[in-house]
């Protein structure tokens, strides 16, 4: 939201069209947070056992991989790209940790470091093909989705490695303090959240990320290294996915090639639900975190009500479609209302609204 304030300040327009509280509250992020609070409150009051001591604990354990991967995924999607290979990187990192520990006898921390490095390499392959070769990320990462998954299954076959030391599998499920609902995995998550929030919202690099998503040519001419930006975001995405893979392995105590199949869809769903535009250029991390939590709360509440996986998927899918649709529908609806008002008034259309410095944007067609 803060990206345009400086550009606007040098003009004669007021810095903001609305007061601060409208700018804070009337956003998609706030809508998602409100929805999260409502769903949580509803579940707390109405779903049997949702108020139990284990609910939040299991909820965080379940969504921790999504929370982690959603952070770099947000940045990737804000640049207008997408990374579909994250779940395959989770699987590959899981298998690698299993083999390194079981066959090579390495300790878990060493295996973790190697797995994260491998994840970064996987991300670098994606990033290189997207940023420097110029291929569409959808095509590249759907290819590497199959490729990395194939390598993962190939490395371990259909078997599983399950003999991880209890010290580490326990740590993956440990609570911050005895009796607390918050598992230890939230510590690295919060650290990463602070890091990514700083990177995206408070650094020149982050401003470049938004610029690239709005119009990468304009971003290039305003001094953003578009290729390097995209490349590093894919590397980050791979590395964080691999870290999530190690957590996934220890949490479930099993390294398998088919671990976390389909997780990429949940991650992307959460990011879009959190208000990040699939066309790039807009989004904020607090919305994304709320989006992930919303999916987690819905899953948890519906499982407690004994709904099957398929019904849960239908609800989350519908919510996602509605949330993506709502912005498009309301925008076009507003445009129509406005033009209607103009014709009724019989006047000429008001002079064009001021545009951002970096316009024309790729989303021009959506603007009223």
């Amino acid at each position: 939201m803060a990206t345009t304030t400086r550009a606007a300040a040098v003009r004669t327009y007021p810095a903001h069209a609305h007061t601060w509280w409208r700018r804070v509250l009337m956003t998609r992020e706030s809508a998602v947070i409100a929805l999260l609070v409502l769903v949580y409150a509803y579940s707390y009051g109405n779903v049997p056992n949702f108020d139990g001591p284990l609910t939040l604990y299991f909820l965080f354990l379940d969504i921790a991989p999504i929370l982690l991967i959603a952070l770099p995924m947000t940045l990737v999607i804000v640049t207008g790209e997408i990374d579909l290979s994250v779940a395959s990187v989770v699987g590959l990192s899981s298998v690698l940790v299993g083999r390194l520990h079981h066959d090579a006898g390495l300790s878990i921390p060493v295996a973790l470091v190697l797995a994260v490095l491998l994840g970064a390499v996987c991300g670098a392959v994606n990033g290189f093909l997207v940023a420097y070769v110029g291929l569409p990320s959808l095509a590249v990462t759907i290819g590497t989705l199959a490729l990395y998954r194939g390598v993962a299954v190939g490395l371990l076959g259909t078997q599983a490695v399950t003999d991880f030391p209890q010290k580490w599998t326990r740590l993956a499920q440990d609570r911050i303090a005895d009796g607390s609902s918050y598992p230890v995995i939230l510590v690295p998550f919060v650290l990463l959240l602070i890091g990514f929030a700083w990177l995206l919202h408070f650094t020149p690099f982050g401003r470049g990320v938004f610029q690239v998503g709005l119009n990468d040519e304009a971003a290039h001419f305003s001094g953003v290294d578009v290729e390097l930006t995209k490349f590093w975001l894919f590397v980050l995405c791979g590395a964080v996915s691999a870290f999530a893979g190690v957590y996934y392995t220890l949490r479930y105590g099993s390294a398998r090639g088919d671990n976390a199949t389909g997780l990429e869809l949940q991650v992307i769903a959460a990011v879009l639900l959190g208000g990040v535009s699939i066309f790039g250029g807009r989004g904020a991390l607090h919305g994304v975190v709320a989006g992930v939590l919303l999916i987690g709360v819905i899953q948890s509440a519906m499982r407690l009500e004994n709904y099957t996986v398929n019904v849960i998927n239908i609800v989350i899918g519908t919510l996602l479609v509605l949330s993506v649709m709502s912005s498009v529908v309301t925008t076009s609806l507003l445009a129509r209302l406005r033009s209607l008002a103009r014709t009724r008034a019989g006047g000429t259309p008001p002079p064009g609204r001021p545009r951002e410095a970096a316009s024309p944007s790729t989303r021009e067609r959506q603007q009223p």
Binding site: N46, D62, D163, R170, G253, E305, V309, T331, L334, R353
Partner: protein, 347 residues
């Protein structure tokens, strides 16, 4: 983004809130309509949750249905939950949910012997009794394991069936799965011993390996029949092997002359039993397995047994059972499927 979103976002918020209200109403209606068993029984010590490896698997449908009948017969509340793919990471959230709900017992077919142990431990900490059936976890994880069959029992029933079908004398062969399959080799060794000790007139010509591949098993059956013209019977202790062998025999001259038996599933073997290629084959009865698991869970919940060796409990029509070593309850001898009973089964 700044310029177009003002009122749009307001509308979006309204739309989302409306969506929420709708979904909230929906779930309210749902919980009201089936609230009878979910809010009253979503937890509670009288709830018995069946968690198969995956849903939509006819084998588990059979045992879970029998389990449901048993649970309802003793007045408990039955639930079946499960993932749509048989992996341990997909099974864990359901174990977690059972722990949250504080159900009486969780009856699991484990997707992995070790991977779900932590989750099972958390459920037991929450007071849930955990019974495994069909596929066990490590013995220290769960309260009780319902074992469908022992290696001894499987080997013996197969030898008995072939001896009966060929009149206890003549040449036979074994069509196995992979040459290094541990359980297959254990059964074959026991069969060899049983044949030598109790059936001196039966000669085992050969053991061939179809690798649990349909075509390979089919070809090996053809090869067996041409190499051993006096062959009177084939034992195939693998479901893939017996189906492939039956397919070969049913179209060859040897149909009805060479007996075939082993371990198979009713749906695969139904046609061959009906056309006379196969007289009788064996497998455990998954329905009885589900029933026994339900009664065992009840005995644990009621405190009648603790899973200690020597504990015994009543399992309705199935009779009385005693807990063996490693907190294991054995269902009994494998179940024989033939033309008289095969239509009662669908898995």
């Amino acid at each position: 983004m700044k310029f177009r979103t003002r009122r749009a976002t307001a509308l979006v918020s309204v739309a989302l809130a409306a969506g929420l209200a709708l979904s909230a109403c929906n779930s309210k209606n749902d919980s009201a309509s089936d609230g009878g068993n979910s809010s009253g029984g979503g937890g509670g010590k009288n709830t018995y949750v069946f968690l198969p490896k995956n849903l939509g698997n006819p084998y588990f449908d059979t045992s879970d249905k029998a389990g449901q009948k048993a649970v309802e017969s003793f007045g408990g509340k039955y639930q079946e939950v499960g993932p749509d793919k048989g992996t341990p990471d997909a099974q864990v959230p359901f174990i977690n949910t059972a722990a949250q709900q504080g159900v009486g017992a969780l009856i699991i077919s484990a997707d992995d012997p070790k991977a779900i142990c932590d989750a099972v431990g958390q459920a037991r900490d929450a007071g849930v009794k955990v019974v495994t059936f069909d596929s066990d976890t490590s013995p220290d994880c769960r309260d009780l394991f319902i074992n469908q069959a022992t290696a001894d029992g499987i080997a013996k029933v197969e030898v008995d069936m072939i001896a009966e079908q060929i009149g206890d004398s003549g040449e036979i062969a074994i069509l196995s799965a992979a040459a290094n399959a541990t359980n297959q080799n254990a059964w074959i060794d026991m069969m060899k011993k049983d044949l030598a000790d109790n059936h001196p007139n039966i000669k085992l010509d050969d053991v061939v390996y179809g690798d649990d591949d349909d075509q390979t098993s089919f070809d090996k059956t053809a090869a067996l029949l041409s190499s051993y013209p006096n062959l009177k019977g084939i034992i195939s202790p693998t479901t893939v092997g017996i189906a492939a062998a039956a397919r070969y025999l049913s179209t060859s001259d040897a149909k009805g002359k060479v007996a075939l038996t082993g371990l198979g599933t009713p749906n695969q073997m139904r046609d061959y039993v009906k056309d006379g290629t196969v007289k009788e084959f064996a497998l455990w009865n998954p329905a009885d397995l589900g029933t026994l698991a339900a009664y065992a869970a009840k005995a644990l919940v009621d405190g009648d047994i603790t899973g200690k060796e020597g504990d015994s409990f009543d399992a309705g029509d199935l009779g009385s059972f005693t807990v063996g070593a490693d907190a294991t309850v054995l269902l009994g001898d494998p179940f024989k499927y033939n033309a008289d009973n095969i239509d009662q089964f669908n898995f």
